[in-house]
């Protein structure tokens, strides 16, 4: 049962537009509209996430957080900061590689918009859908590393190069764990298509279906995802105390804003993929057998489920971030290569065995 399937709405919009104009033009128009929608959503979510981060971080440190600008909640603090950053000059450095320097922020933002577009918001609300969806997300999000490396290298400064190299080493290592845990869930679902992964959790979310291996995979994914998003305790790419701001030290104005935006959206994407793979994406909470409960859960729209779960995971990631101190680069690599990677291999094996012997629910 799904009351909020918007496929029919999509089709009727497409039908109306195609009857008014040639189909090619209609598709172009729809593409532009959806593209604008993504970008607006992207910016809005960034503002929400930054505000949330400040409040949550404040609470973890026994503070209040922003509460002056815009009434009691400080709701206008982040929009004010955005306006400020928009008015700042974008400086150009004398000995920088001008082209790569300007390209880098766009690569970073491109990578995160690509993966952002793959998130399953609702039934029928998938924007990029392909058979290899989750594989595409992994591939697209890796473009971001390229942007970071280019940013570090092209700005012709020691801080940025050190930051970029660190982040390159780290992200490439943690990609392994992410890949393996994603593989685990693909094994369980039997498909790489994000919508199908969601559909197939109709009876029970993956984290319950796959019990022990899925739970372990969830933990590993969260740790590795935190590292992928370059967030504490893995934020040594921009370690403020040693490297000023790491790879984006030399950027100003909106170029810096892009890096900042991408950092927060990567957090959201990491959480969104986690909630897709493990917590059923937009799928409401169902327990096989309890039809009454399932029917009630169906009344809550999928997008609410998706955003709710994603923000729950975001909170979990923030909790991790504001609890643990930053690791050194050797500790980061030790954690991945000696602990997480072997563990993820074991998880893959365990999941394979569970699936073969029909031990999943």
């Amino acid at each position: 049962m799904n009351y909020y399937d918007i496929n029919s709405l999509n089709q009727s919009i497409h039908g109306t537009l195609s009857s008014l104009m040639p189909e090619g033009l209609a598709i172009t128009l729809e593409g532009i509209a959806v593209g604008l929608l993504i970008i607006v959503l992207y910016a809005l979510l960034a503002i929400v996430l930054i505000y949330m981060e400040r409040r949550v971080c404040a609470a973890f440190q026994c503070r209040i957080g922003p509460n002056r600008v815009g009434g009691r909640g400080g709701l206008l603090q982040v929009p004010a900061d955005v306006l400020k950053i928009l008015t700042k000059e974008i400086i150009s450095l004398r000995h920088a590689d001008r082209f790569l320097y300007n390209l880098a922020p766009f690569l970073v933002i491109l990578a995160s918009i690509f993966s952002f577009a793959c998130l399953p918001w609702n039934q029928g609300a998938e924007i990029l859908r392909m058979d290899i969806g989750i594989f595409f997300v992994l591939a697209a999000s890796s473009i971001g590393v390229l942007g970071i490396l280019l940013a570090g290298w092209s700005s012709n400064s020691k801080y940025t190069v050190i930051g970029a190299v660190r982040s390159g080493a780290m992200i490439i290592s943690y990609e392994l764990s992410i890949g393996l845990t994603v593989l685990t869930m693909v094994l369980l679902s039997g498909t790489m298509d994000i919508q199908e992964i969601v559909m197939e959790q109709e009876h029970l979310w993956n984290i319950f279906r796959g019990h022990i291996p899925a739970l372990l995979a969830f933990c590993v994914y969260l740790i590795a995802g935190n590292a992928e998003a370059n967030r504490g305790p893995f934020d040594l790419a921009e370690a403020e105390q040693e490297l000023t701001a790491g790879y984006h030290t030399e950027y100003s104005g909106m170029h810096f804003g892009f890096f900042y935006l991408a950092e927060y959206l990567n957090l959201f994407i990491t959480a969104g993929i986690a909630s897709t793979l493990f917590l059923g994406g937009w799928m409401p909470f169902h327990i096989p057998g309890l039809d009454g409960l399932n029917a009630v859960m169906d009344w809550i729209p999928g997008v609410v489920w998706f955003v709710g779960k994603t923000f729950a995971v975001v909170f979990l990631l923030m909790w991790i971030r504001w609890t643990f101190p930053r690791l050194r680069i050797d500790q980061v690599l030790t954690l991945e290569w000696k602990y997480l990677m072997p563990l993820s291999l074991v998880i893959v094996l365990l999941m394979t065995l569970c699936v073969i012997f029909g031990l999943v629910l």
Binding site: F60, Q61, C62, I64, W319
Partner: protein, 158 residues
């Protein structure tokens, strides 16, 4: 084999300490913020710890007379020369000579808040109040004479 065991012990201790950390931060998360929104909550919820050292004040006895006997120990113990005692010598009815406090100069601007003077006083004649609103516009206004009621008057915050 030993390293194998160590490896798993590393896992166990690591996970345990991580879980402890998460627990601790969640405990803090649920606490009330300690932030004081100062000017707004001045008359409502402002909390200044009782032991906060705001400014020195002379303790008076039940007749409103300072307990100080002008012995000068506080002045001698002050590392900054913040305190200057002025005393008169008076004759008691029994015919004994005794010092009487005339002025207790206390330079708030050079006080370290080290509390050595309070520790040194044999009579408990001085104490720190937690009145922290000490900002004034001129340097001279910080040179206080604690025997004057207007300089010795300070607010006790809860």
């Amino acid at each position: 084999m030993a390293t194998f065991k160590e490896y798993f012990r590393g896992w166990a201790t690591g996970l345990k300490s991580l879980a402890t950390g998460m627990g601790t931060s969640m405990k803090v998360f649920r606490q009330k913020p300690v932030t004081e929104e100062y000017p707004e909550n001045r008359h409502t919820t402002l909390h200044i710890p009782e032991r906060h050292r705001g400014r020195l004040r002379l303790v008076t006895d039940e007749n409103g007379q300072p307990r100080c006997i002008a012995c000068g120990l506080c002045q001698m113990n002050c590392p900054n020369g913040t305190i200057q005692i002025e005393a008169d010598t008076v004759e008691t009815p029994e015919g004994r000579k005794r010092k009487q406090l005339k002025a207790y100069h206390y330079d708030l601007g050079s006080c370290l808040y080290c509390q050595l003077c309070v520790e040194a006083c044999p009579h408990g004649a001085i104490e720190f109040s937690n009145d922290f609103e000490n900002a004034v516009f001129e340097r001279d206004r910080l040179r206080l004479d604690l025997t004057k009621p207007e300089d010795n008057r300070c607010h006790d915050w809860k």
